[in-house]
Amino acid sequence: MYVSVKGGERAIRAAHRLLAHRRRGDRAVPEVAADQIREQLSLAVDRVMNEGSLHDRDLAALAIKQARGDLIEAAFLVRAYRTTLPRFGASRPIDTGAMAVERRVSATFKDLPGGQILGPTFDYTHRLLDFALEGESEVPVAEVAAVPPAETAMPRVTDLLGDEGLIEAEPPACDGAEVGDLTRAPLRVPAARDLRLQQLARGDEGFLLALGYSSQRGFGSTHPFAGEIRIGEVAVEFDVPELGFAVPLGLIAVSECQMVNQFAGSSVVPPTFTRGYGLAFGQSERKVMAMALVDRALRTEELGGEAVHPAQDQEFVLAHADNVQATGFVEHLKLPHYVDFQAELALVRAMRREHAARAETAADAFEEAAE
């Protein structure tokens, strides 16, 4: 039971003013600008766009500044802003095969058409703090190299395997089929894969990382290989009824992970590798790898297994992946529960009285028996 409590207005006003003051920090230090966050903390921006489920680099940067760097709070701010805007429609599905690739690696084939392109990665760094970044250092511009003959084809690893029939085919898209949208209808389990992927795409990176990790450690292993990770820009197109054709809206950066996992098959279908898929806004490699692991784990039942581990359990995963929902329910505990607690206090006191009375009666009975 919640009751309204009056009298906190002045304290709340002062607390918000103090928040703004503390957010500013030492005023001898220059204030950080939202565009600096957008440009220089771009992976935090990407994370907020994913968990806020809204692609807008400027808004995400502003939210990070306003939230003092609390990325879940920032995602919350972005989600709240989103509700103020009308939705014009849905895009055509983006074509990650036509990506302007910034990074593309495969752990399954050393020499693959299009090559291995490391891009701007933390991999192979020694994780030693770089004290040169403490001051304003001259950052050398990137190296350049000759670009291989125009249009070096960069086929998907899954397509290479698919050509030989070694990996399960992705069920073809039936155009016109309704695409599930959990922002319009409550998510129910069991949920179809489109809805599961939507929830994972907006899910908390830490939660998905832990679940993916748990599956690797034996809580529902899928024997995964990172078939391909690609990061880069894709075009977004939008059908405009007045025009009768799809209009290019611009480019967005996305990360994609194709996880290749151990086998499915039956007496009639020969064994094939199975798939797990991850897709997210921006450069979000850890997120899409974890997402692909969890996507595959959630397919356990449809591939003939039994869902016994947390990562395989749709309700467990889908109901708890959204950190804005989770923080809402966890953090509501700090709001006034004075009346509930008065009831609990009265209850525990009554129980203690009864307990004491019972103990006294038992002691009397014992004494009487002893005499």
Partner: protein, 159 residues
Amino acid sequence: MSREAVSRSSLPEDPSIAARRAVMALVAEATAIELRAVRAIAPVGVVDLRAPETGLVMVRGRIGGTGAAFNLGEATMTRAAVRLPSGATGFGHLLGRDPARARDAALIDALWVEGTRRDRLEREILAPLRARLDRDARLRAAEVASTRVDFFTLVRGDD
């Protein structure tokens, strides 16, 4: 590369639509300042059919990259529509929340559709924009190419 991808991904279509879409794809990558130049080309008496309006587009992906569609997440977008005194109408649909940029995009589309000022549009806006984007794309591709792994370097021993 990506702009070519835009044109490539569409179905076979009317060449005039393809050309209009190609201009739109170019404009969609332009900065607000690059598009502002259109105001000097536009005639007086432009009517706003749809004042710039910001909203959301649900961005979709495909399961496994090639399968059925799913909703990845929303993106902000802004749209506008204008009519020139000649009657030509133009539309601007751009990611982001910049109303002036969307209206300038609509102006460019209208001028392209009208057809009589295409030379000036091409000379003053589209050609410089195309050159800038090509330059950026080439630089980006060259930077990325420097991180391509050459597994043979260590064992070649031929120099």
